[in-house]
């Protein structure tokens, strides 16, 4: 029951960038940016369609991943899986916040026509339902498949953004995503070396 309530709360709080503030307030408290962080008000340069499409996709993909990660503490007691999920959540949550900031700065819609349906690296509603009722090794296997699909896809598109994007703060975010999600991929491989069955084509 508690788990369900927690899930519901998360679902309400995490609507991508929609509304902006509720999702942000669930994250780390707003603090003055560290010296190395580009100023959040008006970073230099203009946004290209590639930058905006990538930010929108990153927000949409992360939004779909978080409910998966939220399931982990309720479905497994294995500390290694719990730690991995917490690590993935922390960095991706922070990347989502940054993506939303940049989208607002660009004045771009926080949705796109291809968001919210079956996309590579995004868990479907049916898959999420299956994951909710799985336990033990089945849960670990399904979780590994979804995490692997997500991490692979986010690294792939962030690499394209790094190459083809133009807005400096946005390509910097792409570099951050590549670095952290590649590390998560390695940790996932250590935990679950067997390649899981391929997900159906999308």
């Amino acid at each position: 029951m508690r788990a369900r309530a927690a899930l519901l709360t998360t679902a309400v709080l995490l609507a991508g960038c929609a509304g902006g503030t509720p999702a942000d307030s669930a994250g780390p408290p707003t603090v003055a940016p560290a010296a190395s962080t580009p100023s959040s008000v008006g970073s230099a340069g203009s946004f290209s369609p590639t930058d905006i499409a990538w930010l929108q996709l990153t927000a949409a993909m992360t939004d779909r991943l978080l409910p998966v990660l939220d399931l982990v503490p309720t479905r497994t007691t294995d500390p290694a899986w719990r730690r991995l999920a917490a690590d993935v959540r922390a960095s991706n949550r922070s990347d989502l916040t940054r993506s939303c900031q940049l989208l607002r700065e660009a004045g771009a819609p926080t949705t796109n026509p291809h968001e919210g349906h079956d996309m590579p690296g995004m868990i479907t509603t049916d898959e999420l339902t299956a994951l909710r009722s799985a336990t033990g090794t089945t849960f670990h296997r399904l979780l590994a498949a979804h995490l692997r699909a997500y991490l692979t896809q986010t690294v792939r598109v962030a690499t394209a953004e790094q190459k083809n994007g133009v807005h400096p703060a946005t390509t910097t975010l792409a570099t951050t995503v590549i670095r952290s999600n590649t590390t998560h991929q390695q940790n996932l491989n250590n935990l679950s070396p067997t390649p899981t069955s391929p997900t159906p084509p999308r």
Partner: protein, 297 residues
């Protein structure tokens, strides 16, 4: 967003002249079709359809979308491409203009793409994709004032993220089985028939933008048989018709974007400007059914 070269404001006198010209053309067409009707009875008036087609075979598949995810190859679900043979995630107008095409007519180097259809997780491609350019759904005087679709226009129609039939404009039916009622989701087509998908693109342009942030709102659908004041320029209506060589139980089918009602189409116009303009003048404005060569049938 890219902007089109501004349309010069058409002086009122010229507009009147165009309207009179269109009336005369309509009258002329009427006479022509009445003559035709003399020996060809009920189907003769089919010639009085404002239409020119491009029939395109399947070209290739990629998880790319140069309209929604420009510069981000691999970002999309799987798409099946028709028309230009080169389209990928990095494609721009100059790439299309110098490419070859799977279309008849070959001068249409536009790119058209749709989510791939799967039967039991195996991709199925349409036997043929027809892209009709039509002057319909608006008053005759609006048709007579149709403008060419600007080269470089990018447009998405349909709702890829539809959550049910109610927020979808998809239409599925069966070729050679008219008794099966059309539906916004997949239908069960009898053995020996083909599953068909129809999708109409909007035909009222804002006269300014070649694309928009949602890739849709620079065009609008007509209201009360006319273009709304926000989107005053009437262009040919693109109707996408796909014929898939499958039938039977639709539970085996899905699109790369999800259920049948998520069907959508992406269009990147690369028709040579003169070829598009000639067809609009010779086929759409005078309401004449043209063939692949853009000449009256």
């Amino acid at each position: 967003m890219d902007r089109a070269a501004p349309l010069s404001h058409v002086p009122r006198r010229l507009r009147l002249a165009t309207a009179i010209g269109a009336l005369l053309t309509l009258l002329g067409t009427y006479l022509v079709s009445t003559t035709d009707r003399a020996d060809a009875a009920p189907v003769a008036n089919v010639i009085r359809v404002a239409e020119f087609p491009a029939d395109c075979t399947y070209s290739h598949r990629l998880p790319d979308d140069p309209i929604v995810f420009p510069g981000l190859p691999g970002a999309s679900h799987m798409h099946s491409f028709f028309g230009s043979t080169v389209t990928n995630g990095n494609t721009t107008l100059p790439d299309l203009v110098k490419s070859t095409s799977t279309c008849n007519p070959a001068v249409d180097v536009s790119s058209y793409w749709v989510p791939t259809l799967y039967r039991d997780n195996v991709a199925v491609e349409p036997a043929i994709a027809t892209f009709y350019y039509l002057g319909e759904g608006v008053r005759a005087d609006v048709v007579a004032n149709t403008q060419p679709i600007p080269q470089g226009l990018r447009l998405v129609a349909g709702n890829a993220k539809a959550t049910g039939p109610n927020d979808s404009i998809a239409r599925w039916s069966c070729l050679h089985a008219g008794q099966v009622p059309p539906s916004k989701d997949f239908v069960t087509c009898p053995a020996g028939t083909m599953l068909e998908s129809y999708l109409d693109f909007p035909q009222c342009w804002n006269g300014r933008d070649l694309d928009s942030p949602d890739h849709k709102s620079h065009l609008a659908y007509p209201v009360n048989q006319a273009c709304p004041s926000t989107h005053p320029v009437h262009v040919p209506k693109l109707r996408q018709v796909l014929r898939y060589p499958v039938n039977g139980d639709p539970s085996h089918f899905r699109l790369a974007s999800g259920p049948g009602y998520t069907m959508h189409g992406d269009f990147f116009n690369a028709w040579p400007t003169a070829e598009m303009a000639r067809r609009v003048q010779d086929c759409i404005r005078p309401v004449i059914k043209c063939g692949h060569d853009g000449r009256p049938i």
